[in-house]
Symmetry: C2
């Protein structure tokens, strides 16, 4: 891989490291249907949580907690809440779209061996947080960064993760005994899988398409297309966006 | 590395890939002081943005946009806004803490060759979004996942990223011409660096410490410590949390 502009930088990330990183990133999926019940070894789960814990956070406040949900009774109650909210969510759609929605498996709460609720405590570092001034939600943003670290590290370990957003945060808080001030951000299901599909399920099932990257990038001002000389558009999106393997 | 519980899974992620992934993850830093002005080659920036664009999103709605800010005049105005909000933020602290705050370099807006504003458009997929029911902010959460993908991919490419949260989102919206309904989530600075420090700057400067992972993990219920038999606590945190190299 060309290292234009960076030849002089001593860097402990090799081309081979970068290739491994991209394989993990592009191999990550949002898993709902493919979970296997096999337990997750302690040391593997711990590596995944440690990766999440090493996410960046505003003012280094580390506002996250991870509630591992193993108890089948608790998970069954979460699943009941999912069913209720799923029905409510279905009302958004009608006709063919509704039929497709109803046919999708949207959670693996009981299929996966573990669930993980990732929370954000805005008071973790007291009222004064370096970097939290006009935008109060930066602690929530930090917690989401930890979620993505967790998700990618899980993929690196051969574990699938699904984010179940079709829940009521207050009910999740109640079921897990989470204090009033603490916000449940992500309810994740995690486990080994029968396989990682090559594309997102919502894409293969025809729910939505991956947009062309160029439609999402502007230069200096919203709406100003990123010109060719700055970011030369290459071939199409999707798999062809994957970096070429070095060497 | 032991593959307990997963021997039977065909998985295209090798131990070497996983090692590379973890090197990137643990080598990532929030950069403010170390930027070099060297330009970022088009194909490198494009790989970083493609990685961000391949983050998971609720209902596959891909609510993010990336406004690349190169224009020095625009960046100077953003920096003016930073200065104003930085002074406001300083009022949170007094005494030794205030002196430390004032001594920290908190942004590299003009030092880095590019800034990137990552935004969230809640209307990207119309009013009905699969998975967005009781928790409306899941689109914002998705955007943050893209930010972490961008941050890690940048690290894989030898690029440093700093998140400048000490800004006024409305002012950023105005300066970049972002429509009223679209939310500026992250204002990032990105560029090659003189080096990646081994630890977060806020840690080495004594602002905050990394908390022990065990303090952040509960089992089945908030406050219930994660027992030894589930997640055997190993040695201390920090570098010793890094996965052992396989083989």
């Amino acid at each position: 891989m060309e290292r234009t502009g960076s030849e002089a930088i001593p860097d402990d990330i090799s081309d081979r490291d970068r290739e491994g990183f991209y394989r993990v990133l592009y191999g990550r999926r949002d898993v709902r249907s493919e979970f296997r019940p096999d337990p997750i070894p302690n040391e593997v789960l711990r590596r995944v949580l440690a990766a999440a814990h090493h996410a960046p956070s505003v003012g280094f406040m580390q506002p996250w907690n991870f509630v591992i949900v193993r108890d089948p009774t608790v998970r069954a109650r979460v699943r009941q809440n999912f069913e209720e909210v799923r029905r409510e969510g279905a009302e958004q759609f009608s006709g063919e779209r509704r039929r497709l929605y109803d046919s999708l498996k949207l959670e693996g709460i009981l299929d996966a061996p573990l669930n993980v609720c990732v929370t954000c405590d805005p008071d973790r570092a007291g009222p004064a947080v370096l970097g939290r001034v006009r935008v109060r939600e930066v602690d929530v943003y930090s917690t989401c960064l930890a979620v993505e670290n967790l998700w990618l590290a899980a993929r690196a370990e051969g574990l699938g993760v699904g984010w179940v957003s079709i829940l009521d945060a207050d009910r999740v808080r109640e079921l897990l005994g989470i204090p009033a001030g603490v916000v449940p951000i992500a309810y994740l299901t995690i486990g080994y899988v029968r396989g990682f599909p090559p594309r997102p399920e919502l894409e293969t099932k025809g729910w939505a398409r991956r947009a062309p990257l160029d439609d999402h990038v502007f230069l200096d001002r919203w709406g100003a297309r990123y010109p060719t000389e700055v970011g030369a558009p290459e071939a199409g999106v999707g798999p062809s966006e994957r970096p070429r393997r070095p060497g």
